[in-house]
């Protein structure tokens, strides 16, 4: 068999390696339908570059690919295409149910920088404090951006703090909004889960108004109504056991608007603006509260946590030229995220019969304003750019209704609204900080084969001090179709204001049935200080990558990159600490809590692994086209934590094994005249979660997505498809941990599941261009 296969494969490879005939022999029509290289802006201020020739690993997802996926959420789009991008769907985790956390290479969500058109995007005000992937982080809420407005997504898998500043440790995501020349369109999608629930209705419109000299004004509007899915197990605390808690995708409505505009002036001055607006009303439950004879007015109820999220941002800038080879760019980006908690269908036990059932639990607000001024000078084989950045951030916690948090002086009962206690007046905070950065980049084409990039950035923050970072990236073309690349850099992540100043007190009955009043305190609070808290310092990173690109032909490419990242001063939430000294116990009593926790610079983490990618495209004699993309990621994370306050096996398991170490994406698209077939297979590696001192392992899984599209007329397209069509669900907990978790518990699946647990989703979609 092998003897037959070797000559066959040799024949095929030789065929592949046969380059096409002279491009000049092509007709005008053929030339106009020849694909050009895919260029990206990310990674260098020197101008767009073919992503396959970049000094650092860069990936691109185009809007045509996004349309093939049938997905309506940007987080899901990234998970669909990017191996090593993880975005679990969690339930019964307070605010974390409403803002999906995401990671690249298994690192923290706040170690990913997100840009829109190359400018920094503000993060969410929410801080994940429950035991979810991304615990302790505030990150960009990717669901605020309508995917109908996106032209392409660029992902740089490398440290880039020396270029972009804080957060760019595990990678940078640059979202390029649709520019000139796109057709107006309206689109509608209807879908539901194979089990009949989770109905999703989506409608979007994209309108582009051409302006003088190829300027444009684009506006995208989108509405998505998502019905909850229900995958909870029976509640064994009631007789007969029955499903009472909600576990699955939350009920939500999401309204999004995006504007992207560029006014081109005759004197080479371009004025650009982009704006995003998002309002989300999302409802998810806490655990069901069974009838309780100890408290008045409790017949059993399901508290619903209702998050109302308002997010908006405006970026405006002017760019022009000082001379033929010197350009400048002045911009200002302002963004706000307001996360307001409400709890409905609940009770504050301590208020007895006078307790309301609906509560305003207060809000979190984050504001960010960034001003940039860049200059780029193009010399013969050298591009030099430098710039200044000034950033101002504020973080605010506003208290809820008194009924949402009061304990009515009865600390023997669980205080505040059941499900989620409101922010108290003592939690209120209004803090700000600013930072000033100066940076320089240079890109030198030493010769036709060797390119060297050097970046340096100095930054001073008003809270933690200064940070200087550098990066060097080198690429060498060993042959015309073989590129070697390597980069090394230092980086940092400024502690978020939320990590320094978040505060909330909640009461719950712990695993041993003991009533616990737990307080999360600011790092500068006297209680935290008594336990050893200090002002937070920045996380410091060292990144190294080495790899290359091999293009046997222009229809086949391979990318292989190894990466190694060390992070020092990793910020973690401490364990729940009970007082041991007299002073600590007195302070706990003073603030009415039995346990406290706060954020601390605690650990060293190490991340290493590889990415292997293959892209292949083929045109058949009948003009049909097959495109195949595959991507394998392997990542290993380790944590070294010697700080006793934060040392925690649950955290260690979450960081080291809570996310798949390996993941694989296999995507094939076949286009034949008016029909388009898409097949996507994803493998998610095994993962583990620790609960009650036991590590539970969950198996690797495969999901399969398909879509068939029919171009009914020149302007109308119909699609039908399914995600996870074989209804793959993760394996359940092994045995029963307690009434809440376990094979027969309320939550049968791990919240770390990398593809959720709601199962197959089928949809139909119609798009009309005009």
């Amino acid at each position: 068999m092998n003897n037959k296969i070797i000559p066959l494969s040799t024949l095929f490879v030789s065929r592949l390696l046969c380059d096409q005939s002279d491009i000049y022999e092509k007709s005008l029509k053929e030339l106009l339908s020849t694909k050009s290289e895919l260029k990206t802006d990310i990674g260098s201020r020197g101008g767009a570059k073919n992503y396959l020739e970049s000094n650092t690993p860069i990936d691109v997802i185009t809007y045509q690919q996004i349309e093939h996926s049938g997905l309506t959420s940007l987080v899901d789009v990234l998970r669909y295409f990017v191996a090593g991008f993880n975005a679990p769907e969690t339930s019964v985790a307070d605010g974390s149910d409403h803002v999906r956390s995401f990671t690249i290479r298994g690192m923290s969500p706040d170690q990913v920088l997100v840009l829109i058109n190359g400018k920094r995007v503000h993060t969410s005000a929410l801080l994940h404090v429950n035991g979810v992937i991304g615990r302790g982080s505030s990150h960009v809420d990717l669901d605020t951006i309508s995917i109908a407005s996106i032209e392409r997504i660029e992902i740089m898998r490398d440290g880039a703090s020396a270029q972009y500043g804080s957060d760019a440790i595990s990678g940078v995501i640059n979202i390029i909004l649709k520019g000139m020349g796109h057709k107006n369109s309206i689109s509608g999608q209807y879908g539901k889960r194979s089990r009949g629930d989770g109905v999703q209705e989506q409608a979007s419109s994209f309108i582009s108004i051409p302006l003088e000299y190829d300027g444009f004004f684009n506006i995208t509007m989108e509405a998505i109504k998502q019905e909850a899915t229900q995958r909870a197990g029976k509640d064994r605390r009631v007789m007969p056991p029955r499903v009472l808690t909600h576990v699955g995708v939350p009920d939500s409505v999401n309204y999004k608007a995006v504007i992207n505009s560029e006014i081109v002036q005759t004197d080479n001055i371009n004025i650009y603006t982009n704006a995003i607006l998002n309002y989300r009303d999302s409802k998810a439950s806490a655990f069901y509260r069974p009838p309780n004879s100890d408290v008045a007015n409790s017949n059993g109820f399901l508290p619903i946590i209702n998050a109302k999220i308002l997010d908006y941002g405006l970026c405006a800038g002017v760019k022009g030229k000082f001379s033929k080879d010197t350009s400048w760019d002045l911009s200002n980006s302002y963004g706000v995220n307001l996360f307001h908690y409400y709890v409905n269908d609940s009770i504050n036990y301590t208020l007895g019969n006078s307790s309301p059932n609906s509560f305003d639990n207060g809000s979190l607000k984050f504001t960010q304003n960034t001003t940039n001024f860049d200059i780029v000078k193009h010399l013969k084989d050298l591009k030099i750019s430098s710039g200044l950045e000034y950033r101002y951030e504020t973080y605010k916690i506003q208290a809820g209704d008194k009924a949402s948090y009061t304990n009515n002086k009865d600390i023997k009962k669980i205080a505040g609204s059941q499900g989620f206690a409101g922010f108290t007046q003592g939690n209120e905070v209004d803090r700000h900080r600013d930072s000033l950065a100066f940076y320089m980049d240079s890109v030198a084409d030493i010769n036709k084969k060797l390119t060297v990039e050097v970046f340096a950035r100095y930054e001073e923050y008003s809270d933690f001090g200064e940070s200087t970072n550098a990066k060097m990236a080198v690429s060498y073309k060993i042959m015309n179709n073989l590129l070697f690349r390597t980069s090394g850099s230092t980086g940092f992540r400024a502690p978020s204001l939320a990590q320094s100043f978040y505060a909330q007190t909640s009461s719950f009955v712990d695993e041993k049935g003991i009533l616990t009043h737990q307080g999360t305190f600011r790092t500068d609070h006297e209680v935290s200080r008594a336990f050893g808290a200090q002002n937070l310092l920045s996380e410091r990173s060292k990144n190294f990558s080495i790899g290359g690109v091999y293009e046997p032909t222009k229809k086949l490419s391979f990318m292989l990159d190894f990466f190694y990242i060390d992070v020092h001063n990793r910020i973690l939430l401490t364990n729940n600490l009970s007082g041991s000294t007299k002073e600590q116990k007195a302070l706990l009593l003073k603030y009415g809590v039995s346990q406290i926790r706060y954020f601390a610079n605690a650990a060293i983490t190490n991340t290493r692994g590889l990415d292997l990618k293959m892209n292949y495209s083929y045109e058949f004699e009948n003009s049909s086209i097959l495109e195949v993309n595959s991507w394998l990621n392997y990542t290993q994370n380790t944590i070294n934590n010697k700080d006793t306050n934060t040392q925690n096996d649950v955290e260690k398991v979450r960081i080291e094994n809570g996310q798949p170490k390996d993941s694989l994406r296999l995507l094939a698209t076949y286009t034949q005249k008016d029909l388009e077939y898409v097949l996507n297979m994803s493998r998610y590696g095994a993962y583990s979660q620790m609960l009650n001192g036991t590590v539970y392992d969950f198996d690797a899984s495969w999901t399969t997505d398909v879509q068939v599209s029919f171009q009914a007329t020149k302007d109308a397209k119909l699609s039908i498809g399914g995600n996870n069509i074989f209804d793959s669900v993760p394996n359940k907990w092994r045995g029963d941990v307690n009434n809440f978790y376990g094979n027969n518990g309320i939550k049968p699946y791990s919240r770390y599941s990398p593809y959720g647990y709601s199962g197959a989703y089928y949809y139909i979609k119609a798009t009309l261009e005009f």
Partner: protein, 191 residues
């Protein structure tokens, strides 16, 4: 072939079936397909399209033995030389000239204005006026600013925008079949 299915274990059987499917796929691709589907660099497409467009354009003046393409502000390295080496346009050998300033422009059928010359665009267009020189550029808004042919990329495909009014004003003839595949500039009188 029958030996293939005499397997020791279930896993080995699946493994060999997958291998067989993979090699069948390779053989299918080899025999079924013929032409490749690949990408080209933006610069190469821009370079090649100049000669292709010339086939659809008629020059008023036919006074030279060579077809001259002048590149103002070369951003293409040696691409023009490589593409047009031993090529003919309008049955004439092609000569490529590179200039840094519009003052250096001499007799030429085509003037390719690269992006870096944007500061001087008005001067360039004034200089070429009524000289029956086909101006082509990849500069944004070129056609609307008084240039004749603008090249731009959308969805990784090269697009052509023609200012037909200007083309005629400069005394060129055009094969109307070209207008079927290009974007014709629509003059908005309000602009």
């Amino acid at each position: 072939m029958l030996k293939l299915f005499k397997m020791d274990s279930h896993h080995q059987q699946i493994n060999k079936m997958l291998k067989l499917a993979f090699y069948c796929f390779l053989i299918f691709l080899f025999f079924y397909g013929s032409c490749s589907y690949s990408y080209e660099s933006e610069n190469k497409l821009k370079t090649v399209i100049v000669g292709k467009l010339a086939k659809y354009i008629t020059w008023k003046k036919k006074n030279s033995s060579k077809f001259v393409i002048t590149v103002l502000g070369n951003e293409f390295g040696t691409l023009f030389d490589e593409v047009y080496l031993h090529k003919q346009i309008k049955h004439k050998p092609v000569e490529i000239k590179y200039i840094k300033s519009i003052d250096e422009l001499k007799k030429s059928e085509v003037l390719f204005i690269s992006k870096s010359n944007r500061d001087n665009l008005n001067d360039i267009l004034a200089y070429t006026k009524h000289k029956n020189i086909l101006t082509i550029s990849d500069k944004r808004g070129f056609a609307q600013k008084g240039g004749i042919i603008q090249l731009y990329f959308l969805d990784q495909m090269l697009k052509i925008r023609i200012n037909v009014e200007k083309l005629k004003e400069e005394g060129f003839g055009i094969d109307r079949t070209l207008l079927r595949v290009v974007d014709v500039l629509k003059r908005d009188k309000s602009l």
